[in-house]
Amino acid sequence: MGFDQYHEPPGELSGPTRTFARICASLTEEAEAIGWYEQRMAVETDPAALAIMHDAQGEEFKHFSMDLEFLLRRTPRWREIARGVLFQAGDIVEHGEAAEAASEDSEDSGSGSSAGGPDRAGSLGIGSLRGVGR
């Protein structure tokens, strides 16, 4: 059995990084499912079948959103960029470029920490320790 969500040897990855990778894989699967249901609904003519697909796609929306929120909570810089892009009116690309630049500026002038370390606010990124070994 393969463990395709890992790009590096799992034994060399920390527990939180393995969890992060699993949720990233889950996020991808949910996005694929949303796309599949969109295509199925586009060609389906049976109203009952359409209703089921519509309901199922709603479940995938929920799963995708939960996965995304989990990842954003664990990744402060991602969260900061997402905050500048999501639910904003106007040009998406402009918002994205501005949010990315703002996150780089704050890293440069803030903690001085490198990527993969603490976020711009200096957080140590500890969070919940449920299920984490000692």
């Binding site: 803030g110 903690s111 001085g112 370390g117 603490p118």
Partner: protein, 280 residues
């Protein structure tokens, strides 16, 4: 630059990485409460209060016929533990020294982790935080003097929770003394006590510095909520020619939604855990 003022510190990128890595490494093992309660956040430094969903009626109408109610919230508390690092040690680390002296950081990390454990387990009256042991209506049997008898109070606590309809799995927070007894001991027949307790609980047994005695609680979720404002971070206070003065800080609140979902087990020879004011 944010409120931690890290950009003002005379510390290189490598120095900050050393400090942050060391702080996280020292905090994680000692943060017991986070291993058994629900965690929400971090919601940021500006997050100031937890919604309780409750209101207080305002006695007087502002205008005839228009009454009012005021929302009740639980303000977040800030924990801060100061520490000092010699600039010479940081300079040596930048040169490649492998053994910088970070003892004061280690001490601060342990102390602030212990403070969080105490607030969650036993409460913090000045901060209006009710601890799990304080809130629980169940006072289980005290932990026994002999190791062979240790499983009895734990099993009794689990049975008590089951009888209340509180499902598992269950976790067990143990103070330092009690935890040491458990991991160093085997019962008659050689069966490790740690494994026996694990089978009773179907959940983790957690080393919990600052906790008095033991605490059995359900891990089903929804019963105990830790709300993080700013999660642990290292900030800069000031420096002189010899040292840099830093601090570890977090903000949080804690709410017990289901007091009956935990059972406090007093340490042997001590009364049931009570709210504590001191963190040491």
């Amino acid at each position: 630059m944010n409120h931690l003022l890290r950009g003002h510190a005379p510390i290189s990128d490598g120095g900050w990485k050393l400090i942050d890595d060391e702080a996280a490494e020292r905090l994680r093992p000692a943060l017991a409460a986070r291993r058994v309660v629900d965690f929400s956040g971090p919601h940021g430094w500006q997050h100031s209060a937890t919604n309780l969903g409750r209101t207080t009626a305002l006695a007087a109408d502002l205008v005839d016929g228009v009454g009012g109610r005021q929302r009740r919230v639980l303000p977040l508390v800030e924990l801060r533990a100061d520490f000092t690092i010699a600039l010479r040690e940081l300079a040596d680390h930048d040169r490649g020294a492998l053994d910088p002296d970070l003892d004061d950081l280690d001490r601060a990390a342990y102390q602030i982790a212990m403070a969080e454990n105490v607030a969650v387990a036993h409460g913090w009256r000045e901060a209006a935080i009710r601890g799990i042991a304080e809130a629980s209506p169940h006072k289980g049997p005290p932990l026994a003097a002999t190791i062979d008898a240790y499983p009895r109070p734990v099993a009794a606590a689990v049975e008590l929770l089951l009888a209340q309809g509180i499902s598992g799995p269950y976790g067990l927070l143990l103070g330092r003394e009690e935890y040491t007894r458990v991991i160093e001991s085997a019962e008659h027949g050689g069966y490790p006590l740690l494994e026996h307790l694990g089978k009773i609980l179907d959940g983790p047994i957690v080393w919990a510095p600052g906790v008095s005695g033991g605490l059995v609680l359900s891990l089903r979720g929804g019963d105990f909520l830790f709300e993080s404002g700013q999660d642990f971070a290292v900030g800069y206070d000031h420096h002189d020619v010899d040292a840099v003065y830093l601090y570890l800080q977090e903000s949080f609140s804690f709410v017990v939604a289901t007091p009956e979902a935990a059972v406090a087990l007093a340490a042997h020879g001590k009364p049931a855990p009570r709210p504590r004011r001191q963190t040491r």
